[in-house]
């Protein structure tokens, strides 16, 4: 399927378009955060104030505007998930390509490495590595990326296995095209669909992991993120307190869910467009 027909078909998928719009919106909010809101720091006057004209999503226990925190949190989420996807792709795609193309020993070895990594308990490992790497936002992104490459490698490998049997690859091989060129040009361009689908899913899970690490206190304590807002709300007992500052923990949760759902919907929509028969 070429690009033009892909976009024509994709545009007919209303849910997928909605997912795309929300994803783009959140990315735009993240990039434009300095223009949209002042970086929340210090203390405000109204503590745990409910949503009002001045603070649309209320304030936290320091009187800071929850909406500004969420806007700046979007910046962190976008940055961390992009970082994670880049790392995962840098490791997973080449390994998948190589193991799918060279089927013998090399492929088998890489495949068993993928297998081992896929059965590893991710969250405990992520926590330990996050503790080693230290809690800067960039490190968190890299840690998540390093631990999310196996599924990407698996998808790349399976797609490569199928593609490398195709006649045009056979032809390039007999024409003497170099192996790197066959791998990274001919094969990669042909399997970009399934790889893209998996990348959007990695984006989604990366935000879940990042929020989880921040929530557990292993994120960057000096950079606002959705998980950090939730951690602060949780630590101050906001959940079981009367009167309950619902806005404080509800809005960041909604932000996380919206981001993850949109990326998952987007991934599904790309998949449906590429393979209309499977769903």
């Amino acid at each position: 399927m070429n690009q033009k027909t892909f976009f024509q078909a994709f545009r007919r998928n209303k849910l997928g378009m909605a997912g795309l719009v929300i994803v783009l919106l959140i990315i735009a909010i993240g990039l434009a955060a300095p223009l949209l809101a002042k970086y929340p720091k210090g203390y405000g006057r109204n503590i745990e104030a409910p949503p009002s004209q001045a603070n649309w999503m209320g304030t936290d226990n320091l009187g800071l505007d929850v909406m500004s925190e969420i806007v700046w949190g979007a910046r962190t989420s976008v940055y961390v998930s992009a970082m994670a996807v880049l790392c995962a792709a840098a490791i997973g795609v080449p390994l998948g390509l190589v193991s799918g193309y060279f089927k013998g020993r090399v492929g088998g070895f890489i495949d068993s490495v993928i297998e081992i990594f896929m059965t590893m308990p991710m969250m405990p490992l992520m926590i330990v590595i996050a503790a080693i790497a230290g809690s800067s936002v960039t490190n968190v992104g890299i840690v998540i990326g390093i631990l999310s490459w196996p599924s990407l490698a698996r998808v790349t490998r399976n797609a490569t296995l199928r593609t490398s049997e195709m006649p045009f690859i056979e032809v390039s091989r007999s024409l003497g095209v170099s192996k790197p060129k066959i791998l990274f040009k001919h094969i990669l361009l042909n399997i970009i669909g399934p790889v893209m689908v998996n990348l959007t899913l990695v984006m989604a899970t990366a935000v879940l992991s990042e929020s989880g690490l921040s929530f557990l206190g292993l994120g960057d304590p000096n950079t606002w993120s959705w998980g950090l807002i939730l951690k602060k709300a949780w630590d101050s007992g906001a959940l079981l307190k009367t009167p309950n500052p619902v806005w404080w923990w509800l809005w960041p949760s909604v932000a996380i869910t919206l981001y993850v759902v949109s990326f998952n919907i987007l991934g599904n929509a790309i998949n449906d467009t590429l393979n209309p028969k499977t769903r």
Partner: protein, 323 residues
Amino acid sequence: MGKYLIRRVVRGLLTVFVSITFTFFLLRLIPADPVSMMIDPKMSAETVAKMTAQFGLDKPVLTQYFVYLGQLLQGNFGMSFKNRDLVTTLLLQKLPWTLLLLGLSVSLALLIGIPVGIRAAKKRNGAFDRAVNVVTMVGISIFIPFLSFSLLYLFGYLLRILPTGGAYTPPPAKGFAFTVDVLRHAVLPTFTLFIGNCTSIILYTRNSMIEVQKEDYIRTAYAKGWDERYVTRRHALKNAMIPTITATGIMISHLMGGAIMTESIYSWPGIGRQIFDAVSTLDYPVLQGAFLFLSATTVVINILTDLVLAWIDPRVKLGGARA
């Protein structure tokens, strides 16, 4: 069969060994000093040195590693830095609580997920399937703290009908009252884990059921005049269950140590929370023990999964060859 098992066990031991080594050196990379976490500022330099020596932390890392391996061979998993408990005792105390959550949430997930997945696959893109699609989409996207917060807010704060944390009300009651108390405490964490587990069971069952229904032998069965129920039960289900069983195996090994967030939020005294506490206090022996335990259970569960698959699917010859 016997030969196959021996080979699997040997490979499993190798995996555990690699994981022990990996964890040991990984933990030594943490740029902080575990001794500084154990000591009191009031302690004299002498006491600190004595303590460092007591835990063997004054020796070179490689020596520490071999000492550790030697201890393991004698069945000694080490002593916690934090409260001087034996790691084995500590983990064995936490294990039943993790197993309780795991058992409840996984069996519920299987009980509900498999029938739902089958029904969704029956009429693909029908009304039921589309509803399931929406539910699973939310299920894979859910953030555990969000789900827990909503449940806590609703049942613990607004309705006040369920406890909000811990595994029982201290002091522990006796007999039946204790069981009821524990179960009441387990409701929310179980449900929290159930959502994610059930979602993946539904997805695996649905997708493999759809694949199986395309097979020739299913059409043959219909052609023989058997009705849908019979074909589903007797022919399709067994094959369709294979990915679900594999997924359940992986799910169980992850849950052994993966319920960190759930256990932390509900103050549930399980392995996950123990791992998290050990990371925050740099309690190397506990972490090493926990990771050793996790890799060992993963290996055992993988072997069990293969045995179950071989039992269900006669084509699977243990040892990898397919007839």
